[in-house]
C-alpha cells in the first residue's frame, strides 16, 4: 500500500464524509420514527425524569453561583460610572440571553450526554440492543427516540429554571448591597428583556437539547465492540456535543442580532 500524504488525507476525508452521511441518516430516521406509532410514552416520561434528576443538583448550584458572582464582579465597573442601579438589567441580559441556556446545556452535555453514550454503548457491546430487536421491539424507537425527545423537551425547561435560580442569586447579592426590593429588582431586570430574547433563548435551549440527545445516542448506538468502545462513546458524546453547542450558540446569536 502506498502511504503518501495525499492518500492518508483523502482516506481521512472519505471517512469524515461517510460518517457525516451516517449522522444525517440517523437524524432522518429519528424524524421518521418519532411520528410513527407505537409511541413509547412511558419510557419517554422515565427518560425526562432521568434528564431532570441527573442534572438538577449541579444546575441549581451552578446557576445560583453564576448569578451571584456575575453580579458581584460587575458591580465595581458599573459603580465607577455611578450606574450600579443598572445591575439587575445587565445581569438579566447576560443570564437570559446567554448564560442560562449555555450553562444548562454544557452541564447536561457532561452529565446526561455522557450517560446516554455510556448506557447505549454498553447495551450495544453486550448485545442488549440486538436482544431487543429479536424480541420484536424496535430498539431505535425504544432507546433513541425516547432519549432525544427527553433531552429536547427537558433542556429548555431546565434552562428556564437555571435562569430563575441565577436571577435569585443575583437578587440576593443586589438586595444586600443596594437594598433593592424584589418587585423593583424584577421590574428593573425585565425592562431590557424583549420577547425576542426569551424566544431566542428557548429556541437555543431546544436546539442544544436535541444536540445532546442525538450526539449521545449516535455515539452509543454506533459504539464499537469491546469495553473500550463504551468509554469512547461516553467521551465523544461530551466532546462532540459541547463543540456543537458552541457553534450553534454563535450561529443563533448571529441570526438573532440580524433580526433585532
Amino acid at each position: 500500500m502506498k502511504r503518501s500524504g495525499k492518500y492518508i488525507v483523502s482516506k481521512r476525508l472519505d471517512k469524515l464524509f461517510l460518517q457525516l452521511s451516517d449522522v444525517y441518516k440517523f437524524i432522518m430516521r429519528f424524524f421518521r420514527e418519532v411520528f410513527l406509532p407505537p409511541f413509547e410514552f412511558k419510557e419517554m416520561v422515565r427518560q425526562c425524569y432521568e434528564v431532570g434528576y441527573k442534572s438538577l443538583a449541579l444546575i441549581t448550584l451552578t446557576g445560583f453561583i453564576t448569578g451571584l458572582v456575575f453580579t458581584k464582579q460587575s458591580r465595581p465597573s458599573l459603580a465607577e460610572f455611578g450606574a450600579a442601579s443598572w445591575l439587575p438589567s445587565l445581569v438579566a441580559i447576560a443570564i437570559i440571553r446567554a448564560l442560562a441556556p449555555l450553562v444548562t446545556a454544557l452541564i447536561a452535555a457532561g452529565k446526561v450526554g455522557s450517560n446516554i453514550g455510556a448506557e447505549l454503548g454498553s447495551m450495544k457491546v453486550t448485545e442488549q440492543i440486538d436482544a431487543m430487536e429479536v424480541s420484536a421491539t424496535n430498539p431505535f424507537k425504544f432507546l433513541v427516540v425516547t432519549r432525544i425527545v427527553a433531552t429536547t423537551f427537558m433542556i429548555p425547561i431546565l434552562a428556564v429554571y437555571t435562569g430563575l435560580v441565577g436571577m435569585l442569586g443575583s437578587f440576593i447579592n443586589v438586595s444586600q448591597n443596594e437594598q433593592t426590593s424584589l418587585s423593583v429588582f424584577i421590574e428593573d431586570a425585565f425592562k431590557s428583556i424583549s420577547f425576542l430574547d426569551l424566544f431566542a433563548s428557548l429556541f437555543k435551549a431546544t436546539v442544544f437539547g436535541f444536540t445532546i440527545g442525538t450526539v449521545g445516542c449516535y455515539q452509543g448506538f454506533n459504539s464499537s465492540k469491546g469495553t473500550e468502545g463504551v468509554g469512547k462513546a461516553a467521551n465523544s458524546a461530551v466532546v462532540v456535543s459541547m463543540f456543537l453547542i458552541f457553534i450553534e450558540e454563535i450561529l443563533v446569536v448571529q441570526v438573532v442580532n440580524a433580526i433585532r
Binding site: 453486550t126 442488549q128 440486538d130 436482544a131 429479536v134 424480541s135 420484536a136 421491539t137
Partner: protein, 257 residues
C-alpha cells in the same frame, strides 16, 4: 444425562439455507452455506472462533442481511420481509445470546416480562406473572425473581437469557455458545436444560458451540464450519471419524486442554 431422542420429522424443515454468503469489507466470512433444520431437531454447528458462527444465526434472525443466497425460516424469506412481518417471525424465534444480553437496568422479572408485555397486550397482570413464574421455574431460578442481572453468576445469566426467550413460546431456538465461559458442571446443567427445553416446548434448535461435550450431549446432528463452509455433517461419531487434519486438531484440542 443422555439425550432422549425426540421425534424428528425429516420431511419438514423449519429452516432452509442455500448458498448463503456474507462478508464484511474485505473479509469473506460465510462463503456459500447450505443448511436444513428439521422439525424437532437439535442441530449443532461447530467451528473455531471467528469462523462466522454468530454471523450465521444473526442472519437467520434478520439481524444481519445476507449478501447472497436464500434464507428461509418457517416458510418465509427473512431478508425479503416487511418490518411488520419480520417482527411477527421473530416472535417465533428464541435467540439466546453469547453474552446473555440481559437488560442490566432491569430486574430479572422485568427482563422476563419485557417481550411479553410489549407483544401480547391482551394478557392480564396475573397471566403475565404466571408465565414468568412458569419459565423461571423451568430453568430452576425462581429465587432470583427480584434480583438485578449484575447479581447473578454467568450460568444463572445464561439460564435467565434462555427463560426470557422461552416466555414467548418460540418454535425455533438459536443458542449462541450456551456453555462458553462456564465451568464443566454448569455446562452439563445447561446442556440438560437445552434438551429439556426441546422436549417440553417441542422446539427445533440450532446450537452454536466449540465445546464438544455440549455438541455430543445435545446434538442430533452436527455440522462442522471450516473456513466459511460446512465441511462435514452427521452424527458426532461420523463427523470426527475422518482423516482431515483440521477436524482432528479441533477434536484433540478440545479433549486435551
Amino acid at each position: 444425562m443422555e439425550k432422549k431422542t425426540a421425534p424428528i420429522d425429516r420431511s419438514k424443515h423449519v429452516i432452509s439455507i442455500k448458498g448463503l454468503k456474507k462478508s464484511f469489507g474485505d473479509l469473506d466470512v460465510l462463503k456459500g452455506i447450505d443448511l436444513e433444520l428439521y422439525q424437532g431437531e437439535n442441530l449443532v454447528v461447530l467451528g473455531r472462533s471467528g469462523t462466522g458462527k454468530s454471523v450465521l444465526i444473526k442472519v437467520i434472525s434478520g439481524l444481519l442481511k445476507p449478501d447472497d443466497g436464500m434464507v428461509n425460516v418457517l416458510g418465509m424469506e427473512v431478508d425479503k420481509l416487511a418490518p411488520a412481518e419480520l417482527q411477527e417471525l421473530r416472535l417465533k424465534i428464541g435467540f439466546s445470546f453469547q453474552s446473555s444480553a440481559l437488560y442490566d437496568s432491569m430486574t430479572v422479572k422485568e427482563n422476563l416480562e419485557f417481550p411479553l408485555v410489549r407483544n401480547s397486550k391482551h394478557l392480564s397482570r396475573k397471566e403475565i406473572d404466571l408465565a414468568i413464574e412458569d419459565v423461571l421455574d423451568g430453568v430452576g431460578l425462581l429465587q432470583t425473581l427480584n434480583q438485578m442481572p449484575s447479581e447473578l453468576s454467568g450460568g444463572q445469566r445464561k439460564r435467565i437469557g434462555i427463560a426470557r426467550t422461552l416466555i414467548m413460546r418460540p418454535s425455533i431456538m438459536l443458542y449462541d455458545e450456551p456453555t462458553a465461559g462456564l465451568d464443566p458442571i454448569t455446562c452439563i446443567d445447561i446442556n440438560n436444560l437445552i434438551n429439556e427445553v426441546q422436549e417440553r416446548y417441542n422446539t427445533s434448535s440450532i446450537i452454536i458451540t466449540h465445546d464438544l461435550t455440549c455438541a455430543k450431549s445435545t446434538g442430533d446432528r452436527i455440522m462442522m464450519l471450516l473456513e466459511g463452509r460446512f465441511e462435514r455433517q452427521g452424527t458426532f461419531e461420523e463427523v470426527f471419524n475422518t482423516d482431515d487434519e483440521r477436524i482432528k486438531t479441533f477434536y484433540n484440542y478440545n479433549f486435551t486442554v
